[in-house]
């Protein structure tokens, strides 16, 4: 994880930071971080997508800021400093959403504020940004935010489809006329525990494809 020598902006190592969180180092399915919000915002696709974007922005910028000042942060108060940076970013994002995309901000309501408590953010700051240069940290933030977002989108796609019969608010099942065959929306999928089951299925699928991820 050392980046002491000069290297191109998109070197193989840097690209790996960006792509790894989508696969073998996914924050949700492999690091098992950020599960809490994955349960809360995945009932519908739209809030999940906005949440994914917000988390990506916050992770990337906080990583950048912390990495830039990492040598000046006193070790003893580093967690507090990290939290202050995250909280500031989240409040800024929330204020901007309220001012410029009011509808979306209404959709997400309390969940934007809850980004502060998302373990992925603290996890990345503590594990990566405190020990790396700003640019790789920024990429790491984008990668992890997007990797988290990917799972959110997959889970919310299935939960919205099976639970409400819609995709992004569009009533697919109704248009296909599936309800005439006696099919009914599964109310259980809307409840939070089912998100865990979907995440579990994704984890199962991923580990069955890549045996090296299986913990001993």
């Amino acid at each position: 994880m050392d980046n002491h020598e000069k290297e191109p902006i998109f070197s193989a190592k840097n690209l790996k930071l960006l792509t790894e969180p989508f696969g073998n180092n996914n924050p949700i399915t492999v690091q098992v971080l950020g599960i809490c919000s994955a349960l809360a915002v995945t009932v519908k696709l739209k809030p999940a997508i906005v949440m994914a974007l917000s988390v990506t922005i916050v992770t990337a910028v906080s990583n950048l800021v912390i990495a830039a000042i990492r040598q000046y942060i006193p070790d003893r108060i580093r967690i507090i400093v990290q939290l202050v940076v995250i909280a500031t970013m989240v409040i800024l994002v929330d204020q901007f959403l309220k001012a410029f995309v009011f509808d979306v901000s209404k959709q997400l309501s309390v969940f934007v504020g809850l980004i502060i408590t998302n373990c992925i953010l603290m996890g990345r700051l503590e594990a990566f940004a405190m020990a790396n240069k700003p640019w790789p940290s920024f990429l790491d933030g984008i990668g992890n935010g997007a990797g988290y977002g990917m799972i959110l989108v997959i889970v919310s796609f299935f939960r919205e489809l099976l639970g409400s019969g819609t995709i992004y608010g569009f009533p697919v099942f109704e248009k296909l006329g599936i309800y005439h065959t006696g099919y009914e929306n599964n109310g259980m999928v809307i409840l939070p525990p089912m998100a865990l089951i979907f995440v579990g299925l994704i984890i199962w699928f991923q580990r069955s494809r890549n045996k090296s991820l299986i913990e001993k």
Binding site: F96, K106, V110, G187
Partner: protein, 233 residues
């Protein structure tokens, strides 16, 4: 890891807090006009939706001026109060006052079909936080013409469904009074019978929000009883 003195830590924390505070207050001040304008448009839009006028953010102001004709404030006895702008009354603050001192805002509107309706704002508690909305009544002061509900943070897919058209459209044509007694509208778990003029279907999985909504409509409209009964047809 480098060693930092206590003095350095104090100075670092102080500088950090001052920098962050400046940044945040700057952002809050600069964005405040845009945010307040959003809230005002939102309020007007919700009011229009309660009289079944679909509005977008762009044409809200125009439609509001076109359809909402008058607004006034009543006291709990149903008498008009002068010198208060109904649009700026914050219901949440009113509800903290004793009933005799509360301002009760009313808006008059004439939608495209020529019906003379009144719009009454309502506010109550859901599962996680406040729920609020507007109920519009036909000129008989008894039949519901339309409703619009919204919430701060109800569970998406469950309690949050109160702001969907499917739920709101159920209220059309429901009656508040049975002869002279105030019944309000009941939210019935498991579904209301088709001929029930005082009942609508609750939201499955959103029981507490549904109950809160029922209580909100009852509590808020009850205060207008004096006015409604006096002006009934």
């Amino acid at each position: 890891m480098r060693h930092f003195s206590n003095r350095y830590i104090f100075i670092f924390s102080a500088a950090m807090v001052i920098a962050v505070a400046t940044l945040l207050s700057l952002a809050a001040t600069l964005l405040q006009p845009a945010q307040e304008r959003n809230l005002e448009i939102e309020k007007k839009k919700n009011m229009l939706e309660s009289i079944n006028v679909p509005a977008t953010r762009e044409n809200t102001e125009e439609l509001y001026d076109k359809y909402i004709t008058e607004s006034f404030v009543l006291n709990s006895k149903g008498e008009p109060v002068t010198g208060v702008d109904a649009f700026t009354v914050v219901l949440k603050n009113e509800q903290k006052k004793p009933l005799e001192e509360q301002f009760l805002p009313v808006f008059r509107a004439v939608p495209a079909d020529g019906e003379k309706v009144i719009i009454i704002p309502v506010e109550g508690k859901g599962l996680w936080g406040p729920i609020y909305g507007y109920v519009s009544l036909k000129s008989d002061m008894n039949t519901i013409y339309g409703v619009n509900f919204d919430h701060k943070g109800e569970t998406p897919g469950l309690g949050a469904e109160i702001n969907t058209t499917a739920f709101e459209s159920q209220f059309y044509g429901k009656k508040l009074f049975d002869n002279d007694s105030f019944i309000s509208v009941q939210v019935i778990k498991g579904g209301a019978p088709n001929n029930d003029i005082h009942g609508v279907d609750a939201i499955s999985g959103g029981t507490i929000t549904s109950k809160g909504l029922q209580k909100m409509i009852f509590d808020c409209l009850q205060k207008y009883n004096g006015y409604l009964l006096k002006n009934r047809i």
